[in-house]
Symmetry: C2
Amino acid sequence: MKHLSYLLVLTLTMLFSRPADSQPPRGPWIISPQVHQGDSITFRVSAREAQQVFLDAQFLKEKTPMVKDQNGIWTVTVGPVKPDIYPYSFWIDNTQIADPANTLIFANERFKHSLVDVHGDTPLIHSLQDVPHGKISYCYYNSGTLGRTRTLLVYTPPDFDPTGKTKYPVLYLIHGGSDTEETWTKVGRANLIADNLIAQGKAVPMIIVMPYGNVRPSPMEDFTKEVVNDIIPFIENNYPVTPDSRHRAVAGFSVGGGQTLNIGLTNTDKFAYICSYAPYTATEEFKKNFSNWNPDAGLINSRLNLFTLSVGTEDFLFESVKQNAAMFKDKGLDFQLDIVDGGHTWMNCKQYLAKTLQQIFRD
Amino acid sequence: MKHLSYLLVLTLTMLFSRPADSQPPRGPWIISPQVHQGDSITFRVSAREAQQVFLDAQFLKEKTPMVKDQNGIWTVTVGPVKPDIYPYSFWIDNTQIADPANTLIFANERFKHSLVDVHGDTPLIHSLQDVPHGKISYCYYNSGTLGRTRTLLVYTPPDFDPTGKTKYPVLYLIHGGSDTEETWTKVGRANLIADNLIAQGKAVPMIIVMPYGNVRPSPMEDFTKEVVNDIIPFIENNYPVTPDSRHRAVAGFSVGGGQTLNIGLTNTDKFAYICSYAPYTATEEFKKNFSNWNPDAGLINSRLNLFTLSVGTEDFLFESVKQNAAMFKDKGLDFQLDIVDGGHTWMNCKQYLAKTLQQIFRD
């Protein structure tokens, strides 16, 4: 930190002395990632002392070596890549780093990948389009269950009417195992998917609540209690919503998909829509609740307007989800099993959510 | 990425098999940073292959070596440290990384430091306290000046009344040179500072607008135009505010402090409060606007309720700010020069903002 002042002056000088035509909307003098016409991508990182540098990305089957120039900047161009948003990182010798030149970061409790947004020629369902936009609000609430103040994110749709004259349905949307309350917006672009589908008339205006689900020690029981006893009341006291099951949905991915099943199936009086994406269910808590479960299938089926399980054929939980589907079928539950391409990724999450948003609150 | 499934299973298994009493509210099995009673801090990072690992932190004068254990986890305990929020990173051999175990990240266009929050025994002005909380909303707006959709953050105070019955004053708050629109909340905790001061009756309920100021090629001229022509109209069309100069303030840090001077002093019909923190003014644009500036000091002084310049004695811009102060004095402008301890840091920013919030909108 002793060179901070010098570096800052250097940085500021470079910031203001760069030629206009090479300046992107964001970012420093190293441009990375640079997505080209045709959807190839150039990545760059400065590592003067390094012996070897690799690009690691979720669109690659394996790490790709980068090449060093005389300034110590390592570069690689890859692709074309199918338009989507992908996590990536660099390996500098044996150390994994996020891309210092990129503001887009994968919100996570552990290593935070950078994100590259490959737009393509046609707007995708998660693209920033010229449509009315909702807002994402970061809110604090008191969790009686956990005894502390916590944060959650609330998406309100375009032209949201806060006066109470309009009542909105609410989707409770839960992230994966090491994600945070920001992952569904920062990585999953849940807000833009909703904006686009609402603009197209394919989804109804709704509120989307994104809590932080990694509750210890009991992410099933305690988080289920928290959703029911703290989060739903907080939302219903502070937003204009219709407080009944037909205007509440719960969805989630991975660990959050397992939580979704627990929250939804043990509270069918409160949720008429349950959408579970590649659920992780190999927990003692899940087994305790569901291995000897003896549900009143007729009652549950009559209460649920929609119950979906989604998974990709390359997902490491593919077999597990099929086993869950067989179990639910065996119990007599009606559900929709959506099997798609792809793995246990946030590329798939965006597709799962886009389908859910078109299916919920239609009855 | 080929080991992703294996790693995920391993990770999920570890996540759910850890003993309850060692589990923090967030984070994986490596606990870092761990702030102890008495405000010493233990940092940990896994780097099995590394030859040397250092902790680099803004509370340290120089990098501190870490020590490796038999599992390849490097550890160091430092402090006690004065309670505050500090950026830090690790150097693994020659590569700088953020702390993979920490969710708190310094929002920035370049290397993103981790943040350690040393609470201390007494709540600080930026601490999460048991007071009513406002919200931070992430909004999209159309920038006619720049010809694209951009994002900004809007803090609304506790018990915000969106109906229009209550009108709020607005502070436009600008980040530093390589920061983003998230830096004032993620690093500067502007929302919590406002919550606490409002709860104590030391600040009036206000809206705080945090735009993204790193506009190229012309961060002074173009961003000033954007604030006046796009951002203020967006806010005033969408929030219940009083649209006159006595209910508008502008403040900012570093490059944003220079922008603050440009925005404020060239628009005293629009802003009655101008608060500039350690302004970076060594730009051609600033010189063009202010070196031969011939202001009507009487008019400006009559229009401004508050004009402040703040800087720390260890700030690398200390001399520059004093020169600016001399220039403004020479022009006949009334202003308040706040010289405090500390450097060009976000620790100082929080203090500058806390003072500003108590001074604005009091007339």
